[in-house]
């Protein structure tokens, strides 16, 4: 028998037992019983201004620490405000536990005040979820939730607890083990799959490491470096994998996909073997699937069996934890290479030529205004590879993935799968809470910023001094770019007028932040340095940038990667390349 206490106390004790040190949330009627024992707990609860902020903050915390992020909300609207961050975490495989209060069990199903069937609502956007109506079930549900969230392919788990279960007395005892009838992620790779993969690698003439966010989730960057150097093949890192392999490394060709480098996109297209590590053949990487890497065989290593063959047939699937899989592959390849090692000279001649011919770049705006790419490039250069960069969604996100140079895993956070505008400020807040001694930059758009900037109040009041660079082109820039390209420049509803309203400097000031503005390219470095010097409060910089800058290269949605453009209407000069 455990100690007698309320269900709410049992929940708080369970969260403590699960190792929770910080959580983000907002109280409300149904979840109120939890906030009473939480008042006495060593768990730091950060009171946010919107539940969506709590969810993205938990994600930011999880992405930089590798621990489970925790958020909490009340029933009904509190819970539904968590829907977007839960969907976001599901798409990007982020380990989260969300706790929601629910109306008393007798009222469930009666359309009670602030009732929403959040378990039903979140079924498709969580890894698993629970509705707890018996206080005795709370410790086990919490233990299972943390286990499920953090093992296998990580993901969000929601635990919805009826108010009466929080109020009733129960005996608290945290389980020492939990049992699942069916859930058992495979960690160790199959030995035959490793042998089959080695056989393909040994024959390959044009292999490429196609690296996804799974490498970061598996903390397998060290192994990735080892295997990449062992084989000497090109490495491409997807949007979710930026930082998994150093940008400065000679084997790195950059990011593939819709806005990837010509070299990275072409390496995949012309490859004869994709060594796919924790990536999922997302449409933004493959372009038109039927014309993606048509000559390539595929090794697909992933911890989630359902990713195998979902979009692309895998010649050799390897199910397992990537760190284990790569350890096994490295050992086997070391043996194999004693006898026979692929000669990649020709392949590298082709790739080096492409890399040299088509580096990432941008034009200076003709009107003398500041180029957005330049601002982002300078932030990365001045703040350096030890800082954490968190982007919103849109043009600035792509530029932040292209022009900040990443050297380490868990230094680049963004909403890759769901594409959640408004992610940056709250996720940066969570990242800073997880890594308080690290400089955290939110690189945000003026559109994104206006969706979730209320969390700067939370940052100011809780000593969370993040830095926010608003790349202000007074537009929904990526949508505007598509209107330029595909809708004859008819800019329907993409002008935000945010150089006029709101005044971001005043808004920053009103929220307890330092507000800075930068209007000329020659001031960019000085303003960044000023922002870097302020560490006792959050900083918001309104960088006023050229409105018509576009993200290049680009593979238009639904077209083949072979149709990559390096500027509007301009394809690479393929004839000059030996491919």
């Amino acid at each position: 028998m455990g100690t007698e206490m309320t269900g709410a106390s049992s929940l708080v004790k369970s969260l403590e037992a699960a190792g929770v040190d910080v959580m983000f949330g907002i109280p409300g009627g149904a979840v109120l019983p939890v906030y009473d024992p939480l008042y006495d707990s060593k768990i730091r609860h950060i009171l946010v201004r919107h539940e969506q902020g709590a969810g993205h903050a938990a994600t930011g915390y999880a992405q930089v620490t590798g621990r489970v992020g925790v958020c909490m909300a009340t029933s009904g609207p509190g819970a539904t405000n968590l829907v977007t961050p839960l969907a976001d975490a599901q798409m990007d495989s982020v380990p989260l536990v969300a706790i929601t209060g629910q109306v008393p069990s007798a009222a469930i199903g009666t359309d009670a005040f602030q009732e929403a069937d959040i378990r039903g609502i979140t079924m498709p956007i969580t890894k698993h979820n629970y509705l707890v109506t018996n206080p005795d079930d709370i410790p086990r549900a919490i233990a299972e939730a943390f286990h499920i969230a953090s093992t296998g392919r990580p993901g969000p788990v929601l635990v919805d607890i009826a108010k009466d279960a929080l109020q009733k007395m129960t005996n608290f005892s945290y389980p020492t083990s939990i049992q699942f009838a069916g859930y058992k992620p495979q960690v160790e790779p199959d030995a035959q799959a490793i042998r089959d993969a080695v056989a393909l690698i040994a024959q390959a003439k044009k292999p490429v490491f196609y690296v996804g966010g799974g490498i970061i989730k598996a903390n397998a960057s060290k192994q990735l470096m080892q295997i990449a150097e062992l084989l000497g093949a090109p490495v491409v890192t997807t949007l979710m994998a930026r930082g998994a392999f150093p940008d400065s490394h000679n084997l790195h060709l950059g990011m593939p996909g819709m806005h990837g480098t010509v070299a990275a996109v072409t390496a995949l297209q012309k490859s004869d073997l994709l060594i796919t590590l924790g990536a999922r053949f997302d449409d933004r990487v493959t372009g038109k699937l039927s014309s993606f890497a048509v000559h390539a065989k595929v090794i697909h290593a992933d911890i989630d069996p359902a990713e195998i063959g979902k979009n692309r047939f895998a010649d050799v699937p390897i199910i397992g934890d990537l760190a284990h899989t790569l350890n096994a592959l490295i050992l086997a390849l070391q043996e194999e290479f004693k006898k026979n090692k692929p000669d990649l000279t020709v392949w590298w001649r082709q790739m080096s030529s492409l890399r040299a011919a088509y580096p990432l770049g941008y034009d200076k705006p003709v009107d003398g205004s500041t180029s957005p790419q330049y601002v982002i490039e300078r932030i990365g250069a001045i703040s350096g590879p030890d800082s954490i960069y968190v982007a919103g969604v849109g043009q600035h996100q792509m530029w932040a993935s292209q022009f900040v140079k990443y050297e380490k895993p868990r230094t680049w956070l963004n909403s890759g799968g769901l594409g959640t505008m408004g992610y940056a400020v709250p996720a940066a807040m969570g990242a800073k809470v997880g890594m308080p001694d690290t400089t955290v930059w939110a690189i945000d758009g003026d559109g994104c910023f206006q969706m979730t900037n209320q969390e700067l109040v939370t940052c100011s009041l809780n000593n969370i001094p993040i830095k926010v660079a608003i790349i202000n082109n007074e537009s929904l820039g990526m949508v505007r770019q598509w209107q330029t390209m595909f809708y004859e420049g008819r800019y329907s509803n993409t002008s935000l007028h945010s150089k006029r309203i709101p005044d971001f400097v005043k808004l920053a000031d009103a929220m307890g932040c330092a507000g800075l503005r930068c209007e000329r390219p020659e001031d960019v470095d000085a303003v960044i340095k000023e922002a870097m010097s302020i560490n006792d409060q959050p900083v918001v910089v309104d960088f006023r940038v050229f409105r018509d800058a576009m993200v290049w290269p680009m593979v238009a949605a639904g077209t083949s990667n072979d149709e990559i453009m390096i500027a509007r209407g301009i394809a690479p000069d393929w004839d000059s390349q030996e491919l």
Partner: protein, 185 residues
């Protein structure tokens, strides 16, 4: 496209049918029929799902189903290795044709389970082709309403899906619980 039958053992927990239905809906897999009911183990329910899809999609469906935490075991039920049955109840307006219908019913080893106001309720149990043939025979007499149970399937001989689950052998997967720090590599 071809027809495939899956048997799925699931934990008998609230919402498990909704989880499976939600998965099929959001992944756009079409279900021909779904039958669900209790098993010899009160903690486990069994679903029999009939799908019409390409073979390579079937692997994907099974992998996606396995991702549901409450799913314990899945197996394809092939014609060669399993017994498949469905139940039909069909109401026919007999009129003056009762004897004709009775002989048809007898031919299909079906039974008349209710007769009321000139309407016959016929019960038939069999493989899908058998049920279809009976229905084709009854259609000319005027079918008022019918209901089908959906297909259920069981492996022949000693083979049992539940043998392939860990929990059936009393060794469901045990996970030691630590603090979050233990979840980090």
């Amino acid at each position: 496209m071809s027809t495939h039958t899956l048997a799925v053992l699931v934990e008998n927990s609230p919402g498990v049918l909704a989880r499976v239905a939600s998965l099929f809906s959001r992944r756009a897999y079409n279900i021909d029929s779904l039958a669900v009911g209790p098993t010899e183990n009160p903690d486990i329910s069994r679903m029999t799902i009939v799908l019409n899809l390409d073979g390579h999609v079937l692997d994907q469906v099974m992998a996606q189903l396995y991702k549901l935490v409450n799913v314990i075991a899945i197996s394809e039920m092939t014609d060669e290795t399993t017994v498949k049955r469905e139940l039909l109840l069909v109401k026919v307006n007999a009129g003056s044709k009762k004897s004709e219908i009775s002989s048809l019913v007898e031919k299909f080893s079906a039974t008349i389970v209710n007769e009321d106001g000139g309407f016959l309720t016929v019960q038939a149990i069999g493989e899908p082709a058998h049920i279809e043939a009976l229905l084709a025979g009854l259609t000319p007499y005027g079918i008022k309403e019918l209901v089908q149970s959906g297909l259920v399937a069981l492996e022949k001989g000693s083979a049992a899906l539940s043998d392939r689950t860990l929990s059936a052998q009393g060794i469901s997967t045990l996970h030691e619980i630590g603090t979050q720090a233990d979840y980090q590599n």
